[in-house]
Amino acid sequence: MTTSAPARTPRKLGGVKIPTRLDRRYLPVVGTFVVLALMLIVGGSRYENFLTPAVVSNLFINNAHLIVLAVGMTFVILTGGIDLSVGSVLALSTVITAALLQAGWPPAVVIPVAVAAGTVIGLAHGVMIHYFQVQPFVATLAGMFFARGLCFLIAPESIAIDNASFAELATWVQIFGEWRMTSSVLIALIVLGLGFVVLHLTRFGRTVYAIGGGEQSALLMGLPVARTKVLAYVVSGTCAGLGGLLFAMAQRSGYSLTGVGMELDAIAAVVIGGTLLTGGTGFVLGSVLGVLVLGLIQTIITFEGTLSSWWTRIVIGVLLLIFVLLQRALTLRRT
């Protein structure tokens, strides 16, 4: 049932051997890219103002928080785990931000506190999962309830953010011609870059892949499994905290019911981006492509006008199915 990590053809280091054709590992990501391109082409040909810089910019602006969540989720899923708490932690971070700003704290203090809340919850997950051997699903599920409960405890009702300096931070918009970008997009892209570098160029990143490929083997190889596994959840929690901050910037409010079901969007984005839920295979860039595909579905349905919003869910489900089948076909051919 479980697909073992594929035997990769050993590549010679130092660029001696140049791959003549595309590595199989990249196929799912390429598939996502093709779908994204097709959606852009179809959208562009169907609707007049679809391929304008404004629409594409908005795609990023509206999904900046989801990009950050998906990057964190990729780390956890690569180790073979899952993090169901990200939606609630995001909400917790928005609520903390809003509540503390309302209480008159300066943004310079509030921002680290909001992000740190996510970090602490992530650390708790990691400890529960690794040291107490609670299944990731259950541990992060408890974390999900916990964070949501804390939100209600802090603020049962929506709190508006009217702190001037925080608002200034949020409205910072840079313009390259017609291309707009908010600071949240910039932060999301920085997180993406960091995620990419950490996963591919550091020892920690390689260990993440190794654990996903086979925890026992990683342990026998003498890799720091415990530290890496806990850190993966810390990364995800921190990303969720940061995502909440971006969300608060965009919404200018903190509300305890934000992000219900957002963990599913993040997981769907990661899966559509070609990461296997068994762990060990996948790319952080793919996850971001997945986020863009999800965002584009929303955009297209908005452009279509006559389609009801619930079609979004159905289309996402169908896309998930297609990608899962594609991955399945690929892994079958490998073995």
Binding site: S308, W311, R313
Partner: protein
């Protein structure tokens, strides 16, 4: 003492008893059951009634988890079931007639069975990981339910259908009788035939059990179909209780509650051995917990927090490492007064975790 502590039902039952005691302390009449209009009334009866849908979903979930799977789609199936039944009732000329109600129930259950079979097909025929296979329906299912209700909350008046949710039979709530009846039948079939053992074999090692002649694929297929069917029945109970089909909120998070019930009951998510009695206790714990929150006057908004604390406590106490330490502590020669350095350290560590 050691055996008692190590029994898989010890912690869940302890949690249930603790909750009941807390309730009785807060409200001495909590356990009182009175007879009114020939029906039994009281908080315990009410808990039985509210457990019913969760118990059904958790029952299917236990079987699925036993085969090393998971079914995330049950919440969506609950919504679809209610949407189909109530839409049929609403569109029929005579929603009060028993025939219409039976058709509605039949239609809903049939569709849910099909959804379950679809999950089973993805998992057993195509070999997709259960968590993703059912994630697909979980994502799309509520969209389908919205499609059926046309995006509105369908409400309808139908006395025969309402009986399912709030009627009484022999003084007991119909919903509870149905759910506990189905539970008893399934428990009997699974535990008094080889079926349960075959399910466990499939969960422990699918390849080995297939090689030794167990029809793993058929079994896997069956448990997902059963899970869909039970979720459909739960959806009928939920929609009959409110007489409204809310595609967005019916059965929201019930998959998580059900998985918690299974885990609290001592069945590991890694498959294999399963405890139906544990699931029953787990479902009761969750239903009682929700009740406790109102009895103790805790704001219902904080329910998730309260639930998280209980779940963290129970799962940590059940975790292999904790069990090892507990048994090690009780096995010591001076076990009469165990110094328990670890248990003392434990509450601290959980506090750190939950902060």
């Amino acid at each position: 003492m050691t055996n008692l502590l190590r029994h898989y039902l010890f912690w869940p039952v302890a949690a249930l008893v603790a909750l009941l005691v807390a309730n009785t302390v807060a409200r001495p009449s909590f356990l009182a059951i009175t007879i009114r209009d020939g029906h039994l009334f009281g908080a315990p009866i009410d808990i039985l009634r509210t457990t019913a849908p969760l118990l059904l979903v958790a029952l299917g979930m236990t079987l699925v988890i036993a085969t090393r799977g998971i079914d995330l789609s049950v919440g969506a199936v609950v919504a679809v079931s209610g949407a189909v039944a109530l839409s049929h009732l609403a569109s029929s000329p005579n929603p009060e007639s028993p025939v219409t109600v039976l058709t509605a129930v039949g239609l809903a259950l049939a569709l849910c069975l099909v959804l379950g079979v679809w999950n089973g097909f993805l998992v057993s025929a195509l070999g997709i990981q259960p968590i993703i296979a059912t994630l697909i329906l979980m994502t799309a299912g509520r969209g389908v339910a919205m499609l059926i209700t046309g995006g509105m909350i369908t409400t309808v008046n139908s006395a025969p259908f309402k009986v399912l949710g709030s009627g009484f039979w022999l003084g007991l709530p119909v919903a509870a009788v149905l759910a506990f009846g189905v539970f008893a039948v399934v428990a009997f079939v699974v535990r008094r035939t080889a079926l349960g053992m075959l399910l466990e074999a499939t969960g422990i090692n699918p390849a080995a059990s297939r090689l030794s002649g167990v029809r793993s694929k058929t079994l896997t297929w069956t448990v997902y179909a059963a899970s869909g069917l039970f979720a459909g029945l739960a959806g009928l109970l939920i929609s009959a209780d409110t007489m409204a089909a809310d595609a967005n909120n019916a059965g929201l998070f019930i998959e998580l509650d059900a998985i918690l019930a299974v885990v609290i009951g001592g069945t590991a998510l890694s498959g294999g051995k399963f405890n139906l009695s544990g699931t029953l206790v787990g479902a009761l714990v969750i239903a009682t917990l929700e009740r406790t929150v109102t009895v103790l006057g805790i704001s219902p908004l904080v329910t998730p927090l309260f639930m998280a604390l209980v779940v963290i406590a129970v799962t940590l106490l059940q975790s292999p490492r904790m069990r090892e330490r507990l048994t090690a502590a009780t096995r010591r020669p001076v076990a009469t007064t165990p110094p328990e350095p670890q248990p003392a350290a434990r509450p601290d560590s959980t506090e750190v975790k939950t902060r």
